[in-house]
Subunit: 346 residues, 2 copies
């Protein structure tokens, strides 16, 4: 059976093609009875407005790719949820791509733009270092979500970044631990040569130590384990086990993601130690699980709703040529729960 | 600047279009020097083989929609990860769509097929009840993942299902609790009128009670709370709080998802009770978090790798017309951890 076209519908209804189009698009400029008649005919003949200009346009260019490094990370889940709502609202389709930790997300993005007519790209969990000029090869608007510009100030507008202010908020968390009397603070984080936000969180930690006159003990800087994905429970568990076996003295563990803190809790518990009596633990992210831990996790809440909405808004503005690149950084909120105790120095 | 075409590349290289095509497709039937020359020219002129037949075909029809009800569910995360790997392997693109709990996923699917040329659809966390014939309106191959056919046997081949055998494995878990001496077993699950897998898990629970001569106590059947999404921590927390306040006697809580069990742990702990000394807890799914709880969660492990791969394989076979619909059910694995204690009846 040949496919029913918009012309057929117009002919059957005895109206013009533009009237059918108005009915399909819920245009106000059409009489309700006419719209109803057209809709009945559309349903009766099973006409799918697939080849109309409206849909052709949409089919070709309403896709927004979301490239996620770490799809099991609940932080990204929450942001994806917000993005999904925003994209749907604007009749765009999310094309989700999982990027492996070893994979080059820019290469994935370039491959995608070759094959798909994308309206835009959103990166979540981006790695900073790519050969110079590599990002500039991406010819559609894109936003780097959850990672701020590496230089860390508002003038970094080479690309569009939307993220929590990782350096500043990591500084604040470390400073909080110091104010609670902790000086030997272990950090589960990236190495300095890391190319994720871990680098910024580590820098914030080091700066807070420095500003408080504490020399960093490199043995308390525990880089991501090679077990499990960075920022995961498994990784935090392995890193904390390593820390506990090192024989180094420490009174607090600052895990640079809540999921790593979940792993740290387990390792500390299995070593026969109590949180916060023996060891204090702080996290970063503010994902739901923190409140389900015993004791509840003190952490830095990322404003995921705001971040998700801003990522979309920035991409949307770029698509419409309404703005240049921006480095949009948000404050977190330090949630004081039960996992950090005050150390009294006698 | 007019776009460079494959014809331009052929002309510049002094070869035929088919030779350029062979070079692009890494066809063995081309001399390496020729391939290298062509690749140099392609790079030099920035030719993107976007309009070649190969890519046109790919652009139009390599999309597979994955419709997920409950994107924050770590079980689905793991399956999405497997699907992503399989789809990439076969040069298909995942179009992920989040479906809200109130939303009709079939309507979402139909909307998608209107707008996109999809090769297939995968549903995760499907709800059973849709008006008769509604699913038949979907004109591309589709697989209902993580939900078995409601009639529960292999002859249910109206649609393609790939799932753990929810009824059987829920029966097995309940039976395990009974063998451990528990008779007053509360279940956090769906109501009988539920239209998700919760219905099957509840049926397995009821059947196990019946086969062991235990009359079900309807006060111990705690339906999903209206707080938070079904199967979530928040929901399990609220449901368990309700159960604890009910004054009913029970020695075990069977949470029909591990995330609900995480919530149950918190509610039990906050009531000043101990797991498993005061109350035993069992879960379902076998997601990673179970091993990070204190005590470790006894649960039913779903074979997510196998389920993910089978969902893809079934869809792929349907796409290629190689098979009819199937109801593919998998066994789970009962993981005996630390959250269930043996009750000794004196």
């Amino acid at each position: 059976m040949p496919e029913v076209t918009i012309k057929d519908i117009a002919r059957i209804c005895g109206v013009g093609v533009s009237t059918v189009s108005r009915a399909i698009n819920n245009h106000p400029d059409i009489r309700p009875e006419t719209r109803q008649q057209i809709q009945r005919v559309i349903e009766q003949y099973g006409y799918i407005p697939n080849n109309s200009a409206r849909n052709l346009k949409r089919t070709e260019s309403n896709g927004v790719a979301v490239l996620v490094r770490g799809i099991t990370n609940p932080l990204f889940n929450s942001i994806i949820k917000v993005l999904d709502i925003e994209l749907k609202k604007h009749r765009m389709t999310m094309i989700l791509q999982q990027v492996d930790y070893e994979e080059d997300e820019v290469a994935v993005a370039l491959e995608l733009t070759k094959e798909k007519r994308l309206k835009g790209i959103i990166f979540l969990g981006f790695n900073y270092y790519h050969p110079e000029g590599e990002l500039d090869k991406i010819k559609v608007p894109f936003v780097l979500g959850t990672v701020g510009a590496i230089c860390g100030d508002e003038n970094c507008t080479l690309y569009s970044h939307v993220a929590v202010d990782d350096l500043q908020e990591s500084y604040r968390m470390t400073n909080y631990l110091i104010r609670k009397g902790h000086r030997d603070i272990a950090i589960l984080s990236a190495e300095e040569k890391d190319s994720s936000v871990g680098k910024l969180r580590l820098a914030g930690y080091l700066k807070a130590l420095e500003d408080n006159g504490i020399s960093p003990n490199t043995h308390l800087i525990i880089p991501f384990s090679d077990i499990g994905e960075p920022y995961s429970m498994t990784n935090g568990y392995a890193a904390t086990q390593k820390l506990l076996k090192s024989g180094q003295a420490f009174s607090a563990v600052y895990a640079t993601s809540d999921m790593m803190a979940v792993g740290a809790y387990r390792a500390i518990r299995e070593a026969g130690l109590k949180i916060p009596e023996d060891i204090s633990v702080a996290g970063f992210d503010g994902v739901e699980i923190g409140d389900y831990l015993q004791p509840k996790l003190t952490t830095m809440l990322q404003p995921v709703e705001e971040i998700g909405e801003t990522i979309f808004r920035q991409l949307y503005d770029l698509m419409n040529g309404d703005c240049g690149n921006k480095n949009l950084l948000f404050q977190g909120e330090l949630l004081e729960k039960e996992s950090v105790r005050e150390l009294v120095h006698i």
